[in-house]
Symmetry: C2
Subunit: 195 residues, 2 copies
């Protein structure tokens, strides 16, 4: 298992020396997780942060009726964790589960603190990553407040064609905050418009 994708990802945001990259890589461990298995269950403490090399996972809440609401999908080159639980090392509110056989590069909370201490520039890396993430979450919230369900559906499949091709409509519906049935209606509507 090579860590080229991770190295490329990191070096794209902050420039590190080959030695530094080597050190960073050494803290990450390969973890494979078969389709359907949990990476984290609500109630557990999220002790790792993971970079997705291959596969796809869902991060979601479950309500009292057992219905899932998907917060986000982590496909290739995404980071996955329960950030609140990881940051404070407290019980997770969310579940993380593999939608396909997946390969991650994970770093534990303690190792990450060590890495920050050893190479302070890693703070910069994660500061930049986090600020980009904030901007993305804000844009998503704005889309939820300004676009109809149909517009959000089209935006999603247009923006993430590869990812959305691997997902069921049920998953996409859950992510968009609408019902599976309504996704069917939208798809039907689109199909008729094309004629």
């Amino acid at each position: 298992m090579d860590k080229k994708a991770l190295t490329r990802y990191i070096n794209h945001l902050v420039t590190f020396s080959p030695e530094e990259l080597e050190t960073i890589n050494s803290y990450f461990h390969v973890k494979t997780i078969p389709k359907g298995e949990y990476l984290l269950r609500s109630g557990q403490i999220c002790r790792f942060e993971g970079y997705v090399v291959e596969g796809c996972l869902k991060v979601y809440t479950t309500n009292s009726k057992g219905e899932e609401k998907i917060l986000y999908f982590a496909g290739k080159d995404w980071w996955v964790m329960e950030i609140d639980s990881f940051l404070h090392q407290t019980a997770s509110e969310l579940n993380i589960r593999a939608l396909k056989n997946s390969t991650l590069l994970t770093i534990s909370w303690t190792d990450k603190e060590r890495l920050y201490a050893q190479i302070p520039k890693v703070e910069r890396l994660f500061r930049i990553m986090s600020q980009k993430a904030i901007a993305a979450w804000q844009r998503r919230l704005i889309r939820n407040h300004t676009m109809t369900a149909e517009e959000r559906y089209l935006h999603f499949i247009d923006t993430y064609p590869t990812l959305s091709g691997q997902l069921t409509n049920k998953h996409i519906a859950s992510y968009l905050g609408i019902t599976q049935e309504f996704v069917s209606v939208i798809r039907k509507r689109r199909q008729l418009e094309k004629t």
Copy 2:
């Protein structure tokens, strides 16, 4: 104008020496902004990041019909900026406007880069702040997908009693992604339930 609140805020997250705090403070400049005035208009580049000492501002989008959708309020001890525009120094999609006479401590983009270079531990500070912010945006998104308008309204006024007391129902409605009229219905409903 003293910078005690900012110092307290910063030192609560990451410990700095008095000299470091002095240096950090020296990069921030006082800016007062009267009620109703813009701090930033969409299309402009967000060249500063601000810490709210006193007052309240709204960060919002405007659609083609001139309707506002409020992304967030920045009250006392909040940070305010258009993060995407600030980060990449590109045109802002959002507007920022004072809801009351406000006092900010602002730092320019260039000074912030200087500060990161001069005191690398500041990267850690903003890394931690940003990660907490991600968790907060995620929780807000989950609330939007799992709670009714009434539940979100009650959650908001319970969670931010001081802030919400300073806002009009119209503002709260815009923030929650519902109509002003429906807020009235919710309030009426609550009032009847109390009897």
